[in-house]
Amino acid sequence: VNTRPLIAAGAALGLGMGGFLDGIVFHQIFQLHNMLSNQYFPDSVVNLEINMFWDGIFHAFTWIVTALGIALLWNAARRPDVPWAKKTFFGSLILGWGVFNLTEGIINHQLLAIHHVVERATGLAQVFWDLVFLASGVLFITIGLTLIKGDHRRLSALTKRDAGGKAA
């Protein structure tokens, strides 16, 4: 039994869905920030269109990662040694989402400052929301790993029991 292909698929899908959630909810619905909103503040049509273009490129990468996740899941589903374990899969989704939030937060918000989570916020409020985003990444990674680990123990016990039954 091998859970690795399922974890890889779940993590890739979580990465993609985390990206889509950011793009759809934060960029488009609530318009809290755009890809380059700290460099081209969206207060003119030109700046809005530049941001829209780069939001589109961001969504294109997100789409590619999600498609890769579907391919990996398809591959995992066809393998007899991969258990169809719900908790492992959902844990991996949350893990992928967390890794995305953490890396996106560190690279785009902290290191390069191309945008902040709430662009219109100023001073400490802006820092606060950036830190909340980073903390969400750490929290999701912890939850994801906990779920995967817990399920790993359950699967381990089940296989031991099955192996014991066959031996008897």
């Binding site: 039994v1 091998n2 859970t3 690795r4 974890i7 890889a8 993590a11 890739a12 990465l15 990206g19 890809m35 380059l36 081209y40 049509v45 030109v46 269109e49 530049i50 273009f53 780069w54 490129i57 961001f58 990468f61 997100t62 990662v65 040694d81 893990l95 992928g96 890794v99 995305f100 890396t103 996106e104 690279i107 785009n108 390069l112 191309i114 790993h152 699967l155 381990s156 296989t159 031991k160 192996a163």
Partner: protein, 80 residues
């Protein structure tokens, strides 16, 4: 023969002179393109946009390599 009701619309659009297209040739569109398609700028922002996906993917890939599989004995690193 049934014609699509959109045919007259398509005809109308095709008959528009490309130079007069307000989306391609407005001042705004030209300003946007001039800003986006500066090669150096474009490559840099393209890399920045791609970076979180590459780094995240790399982290997950390396984590996967280090995870090891589960062999039924609770030990990592072996496959059954």
């Amino acid at each position: 023969l049934r014609l699509s009701p959109f045919l007259p619309l398509a005809g109308l659009l095709l008959s528009v002179d490309a130079e007069a297209c307000p989306f391609c040739h407005s001042e705004t569109a030209e300003a946007v393109r001039a800003e986006i398609f500066q090669l150096e700028n474009f490559l840099w922002i393209f890399t920045i946009t791609l970076a979180p996906f590459l780094v995240s993917g790399g982290i997950l890939f390396l984590a996967q390599k280090g995870l090891g599989s589960w062999d039924g004995n609770g030990k990592a690193g072996r496959r059954s």
